[in-house]
Symmetry: C2
Subunit: 346 residues, 2 copies
């Protein structure tokens, strides 16, 4: 009976400490695997006493369900993939809110970031490989619709801009409203030469651009419309600042692509001896944790990150559970926050 050739020892801490499996818990509690599974998932079908016993055994073994196996067995992962850019503070804001929103609906969240040498495609590939059932794209190139087209295989929600592919949801800020408020504010202060630094392919930029044009026209400032090509980062702001400085005659106000761009612009202008907001007023966009700090103190358009996160998650999950909904578009609120970088023109 004991001619055991098998080493029966309790996982000797040799190399790999051997993670406890459900079967281990079952043995220890003296029940079947199935029952352990039921108890741990908090489902009915187990007696109170047994339940106690199983929980205790699991605890003692430091058992931790293997989500890979769960996925495989369930055929579902209950996991949402989020594609983000680590450098965009606004993304951080949204992701922070995605976690609880997803948890509440019983979903897990996997993050994947774009990085140098790791493009959207690779990053989403990783997500898909890990069996994310749906994707929330905080970053997505509107031109190569490739990423977004994944929507064909996986429910996808694009954040920050309108989706261009049918069957893909989109959650974005009411850019028109935000931009209008910004332009109204500047115009009310008496500004006329209000230029806009464009966010390039960044999310929301296209909408902000056209909203800017529309708002300018509303103020009968169509002649003053000017869009400087840019991007959503500090460098773009600096470049735009240099450009403006080189032209000799400055506008009296600038609506930047986002906060980062605004900060770069402010840097460039101030370095060039320009007083902000005395000579030039600047309005940002995002209201990340930077804008209200430092003596940056930026007037900016606040986006509703928690709301965006919540809608993105909800849309993804609904699409997951329903199947084939038409592509929906959700607009979240935008609100101008006036701080210290705007003032009447000289």
């Amino acid at each position: 009976m004991d001619e055991a050739l098998e080493p029966q020892q309790e996982a000797a801490p040799k190399g790999a400490p051997q993670r406890a499996t459900m079967a281990d818990v079952a043995t220890r509690a003296g029940v079947s695997r199935t029952l352990v599974s039921l108890v741990l998932r908090d489902r009915p079908g187990a007696g109170a006493a047994t339940r106690e016993r199983v929980l205790k055994a699991a605890e003692e073994l430091g058992y931790r369900p293997d989500s890979a196996a769960q996925m495989l067995a369930r055929g579902r992962s209950r996991t949402l993939g989020v594609l983000m850019n680590l450098e965009q503070p606004f993304h951080a804001e949204v992701v922070k809110a995605i976690y609880p929103a997803a948890a509440q609906l019983g979903y897990d969240v996997l993050l994947s970031a774009v990085a140098p040498g790791r493009d959207e495609h690779m990053a989403t590939g990783a997500l898909l490989g890990h069996r994310c059932e749906a994707l929330v794209l905080l970053v997505s190139d509107p031109e190569s619709h490739a990423t977004e087209r994944l929507g064909g295989s996986v429910p996808t929600v694009v954040v920050g801009r309108k989706a261009t592919t049918p069957g893909v949801d989109s959650v974005h800020t009411a850019e028109a409203k935000g931009v209008r408020q910004a332009v109204d504010h500047l115009a009310d202060l008496g500004h006329r030469r209000i230029v806009h630094i464009d966010g390039g392919k960044g999310p929301g930029s296209a909408d902000r651009r056209s909203a800017y044009r529309a708002a300018m026209r509303r103020h009968r400032l169509a002649d003053e419309i000017r869009v400087i090509p840019g991007a959503q980062d500090e460098d773009a702001g600096i470049a735009a600042g240099m450009l403006l400085l080189s032209e000799g005659e400055l506008p009296t106000a600038v609506l930047a692509a986002n906060d980062r761009c605004a900060i770069g612009l402010m840097h460039a202008l101030r370095s060039g001896g320009v007083d902000v907001p005395g000579d030039v007023s600047i309005v940002g966009y995002d209201d990340g944790n930077l804008s209200h700090l430092s003596h940056i103190n930026l007037t900016t358009v606040r986006q509703d990150a928690p709301g965006i996160a919540e809608h993105a998650v909800r849309n993804a999950v609904e699409r997951l559970e329903n199947g084939s909904l038409p592509g929906r578009e959700t607009e979240c609120d935008a609100k101008l926050v006036v701080r210290a970088t705007t003032a009447p023109p000289r």
Copy 2:
């Protein structure tokens, strides 16, 4: 031979588009699953022609290996888990460099962030549940060693501070060197009243604190040593600034916990009418993408993010492949970058 009752149709796009499995690829290519597996993993054992055929079939079906199943079958996930804080720009910097470093060693990276309502414990739990084989902790509370102690079950590398648990690797900046350079710089400018805002439980803070003390003593400034409790964010900087302002007599220089703290401090001081660097010089720590921008233009200690990332990944993987190495400590370089927030005292 063709009494096929099986509906042989190509995956009708019904509800779930049904992801292609390895068996599908095998059928289509007319080979066994095993062979498909071999080919796709680029292992020897398949003829050139067959290989071609399999690759083509996989391509056509849009096949994508299911990493959950792979993990399960392999018993290994080849995945590294990274615990980070989305708000810490320095973390972003490190993570960006972790991706390529891990990829080069054939490892996948999973990100998990702490967020309100999602503490270290939950975040690492998620990583472990997804079968990460090793953890890189960019955030870790040195007091509750709980997180770090995971090292017992999973190879762990703590970034940014010394590990306090045996068998856990640590990769951090040569804080002593960085801080010494900062203090030297200030002392050389003629400063004597140099206070330090402490980073609290943040990574590296303990070391920076003691390095500050040591550096001050080296300059025979022991009597001037003063550490203000703080944290690694803007709020802490603001709080420290308010505190200093309320005291009436300001120090002539401040070494902040990190860049964010420095920015907050600068904000508070300038709001209080203090000239930086005229009245007070400020030195930060990190050199994220903020410090050299805006008219922040912060003198700061640069940490070597790519180096840190590379070492962290390498240590984790080595420990993974070797088993039981002693805990190692790797120091990466630090270098003072002098910009515009430091000047001789009045």
